[in-house]
């Protein structure tokens, strides 16, 4: 009796494999959207650069200041970075850009970036001991981005 039940359950389970494969392919986009919505999952800011928290409007371009990234498995790390993006509103970015960046508003800019969009070089002027250094310029088509390494103030 028990063997019969196990056999029926086993075959039922096995027979479900084919509809499962079909459902996987046919409904893949829906499953993917559902999975993303249910989990609320995002790409780690260590890769995506973080969410934009301030936007500075300048003639011909915008400066996007993203949320500083100190993400750790638990809590925060002692060091991280903040990504700054320059996005043109017209055709192209100016050849030379100077941006004073106030990451944590209230005590003035923590650093100033001098960006040359032709050579894709950046010079970092530090105004705070929390600023460690700048990585190389990311050439994102018409836009540019730089990650400035920071010490965690907390």
């Amino acid at each position: 009796m028990w063997q019969r039940i196990k056999t029926i359950l086993g075959y039922t389970w096995a027979a479900l494999a084919l509809p499962l494969v079909l459902a996987t392919f046919i409904g893949m986009n829906d499953w993917a959207r559902g999975l993303a919505a249910v989990t609320g999952i995002k790409v780690s800011p260590w890769f995506s650069g973080g969410e934009v928290i301030h936007t500075l409007a300048e003639p011909h371009y915008q400066v996007l200041i993203r949320e500083p990234v100190f993400q750790a498995l638990v809590g925060e790390r002692d060091e991280g970075f903040v990504q700054i993006d320059w996005v043109p509103t017209g055709e192209a970015l100016p050849a030379q850009i100077r941006s004073d960046i106030d990451v944590w508003p209230g005590d003035g800019p923590e650093f100033t970036l001098h960006l040359d969009t032709v050579t894709n070089e950046v010079h970092l002027e530090k105004h705070s001991p929390l600023v460690l250094g700048a990585q190389r310029v990311l050439n994102l088509g018409q836009s540019r981005a730089v990650r400035v390494e920071l010490r965690n103030p907390r």
Partner: protein
């Protein structure tokens, strides 16, 4: 011992052709629906490869059902798919990006296609931080993260570690190399090395959790040699490049040729180790009828992923790492090994269990792999007609 005695008895026991055709027809119709249901391209450079692939699939499945041999026909499609994937993927990269190298810009803009090999590394960080530690996109673009996870969940529930022999294109490369020689040159591999995949899994999962980066991809994945890799801009990346290059040559090419086994899959792959656990909840496994078995050891010798040893054979089953490729089933001279549905008695209607497995397994393989074969044939046609693999 060769399998001629099995071959002989299989020939004698073949069903009539019409019966095999009847069993195969639903599969052919299903495949046609899956491949052509969305409408086929009218471009002959796309349509002809699709039709050719469809014919190949139908012939292979018919042969699989009619002859009772699984591994040979599975391997033809599996290996073809793998090499076609490499050709298509690299050609696409060069067409879009200009090279196989992945730049920081590509990573910062989420343009890295998500690879299934990184899945185990993402679980703990995702649980703690609700983020995926991979420079891809959640829903946008080719092979985005959510789609690949949905695909992986579906195939894992259906096939367990069968994914490794009926889906993973990386495994197909090794499967191909492992069949180049008639006899192995290296036969003895220490049993303790079969635990290395679990060690690599444990180490990489913990390292990824600690560093919040996909450590296996960064340091060890040999398949970066045939897909994409970080542009060498620092000593660290140079070391990583040397490591993955060496691992590819050693584990994916050389050792499979010398041992006639899938050495990367069986002795290294952390995704394979992770996938092994899913065998516990899968409906299918491979079982050995101890009454028929004579302990000749042929199955142990042929198993490509070291999933059979003396102890497991004595227990009448495979180890957890079994990928259900069917090679041991085909090789057993006594017909003692068979596909099995859990819950049913061992040796109870093995042909039915086999069909119940083959349908979802081969369907997954062909739907997953047809695009790769079609893409590669298209590239070859492009090469012949224009002199270049890329547009």
């Amino acid at each position: 011992m060769s399998d001629t005695s099995t071959a002989g008895s299989r020939s004698a026991n073949r069903p009539p052709v019409w019966k095999s055709l009847l069993k195969v027809l639903p599969f052919i119709l299903l495949t046609a629906f899956m491949l052509l249901g969305g409408g086929a391209s009218s471009d002959p450079r796309q349509l002809v490869p699709l039709i050719l692939t469809f014919v190949l699939i139908s012939v292979l499945f018919f042969r699989m059902v009619h002859t009772g041999r699984t591994d040979r026909y599975r391997a033809i499609f599996f290996i073809t798919m793998a090499f076609c994937f490499v050709l298509t993927f690299i050609a696409n990269l060069i067409e879009v990006r200009g090279s196989m190298a992945l730049t920081h810009e590509d990573m910062a803009t989420g343009q890295t296609p998500f690879c299934h090999m990184v899945i185990p590394m993402t679980i703990i960080p995702a649980a703690f931080t609700r983020t995926i530690i991979f420079p891809g996109s959640i829903l946008d673009g080719f092979a985005n993260i959510a789609t690949m996870f949905a695909l992986w969940i579906g195939v894992t529930l259906a096939l367990g570690r069968g994914f490794c022999s009926w889906g993973c294109f990386f495994g197909g490369l090794e499967d191909g190399f492992s069949r180049l020689r008639r006899k192995p040159l290296l036969r003895k591999i220490g049993h303790h090395w079969t635990y290395l995949p679990y060690a690599v899994l444990g180490a990489m999962v913990l390292l990824s959790a600690w560093t919040l980066s996909p450590s296996y991809c960064e340091w060890l994945c040999p398949f970066k040699a045939v897909t994409e890799f970080e542009a060498v801009t620092s000593t660290r990346v140079l070391i990583q490049t040397i490591m993955f290059g060496s691992l590819f040559v050693g584990l994916v090419v050389a050792l499979p040729i010398l041992t006639r086994r899938r050495t990367q899959c069986g002795l290294f792959c952390p995704m394979g180790a992770f996938q092994s656990f899913s065998n516990k909840i899968n409906a299918f496994d491979i079982r050995i009828d101890r009454e028929k078995c004579t302990d000749c050891g042929q199955c142990i010798r042929v198993c490509p992923t070291f999933s059979l040893d003396a102890r497991s054979v004595a227990d009448g089953k495979t180890r957890l790492s079994c990928t259900k490729c069917g090679k041991c089933v085909d090789a057993c001279p006594r017909g003692a090994i068979s596909f099995h549905v859990k819950g049913t008695p061992v040796g109870h209607k093995p042909a039915r269990a086999r069909m119940l497995f083959l349908y979802p397994a081969f369907l997954f393989l062909v739907v997953f792999g047809t695009g790769m074969i079609q893409g590669a044939l298209y590239r070859i046609v492009l090469l012949v007609t224009t002199g270049s693999l890329i547009q």
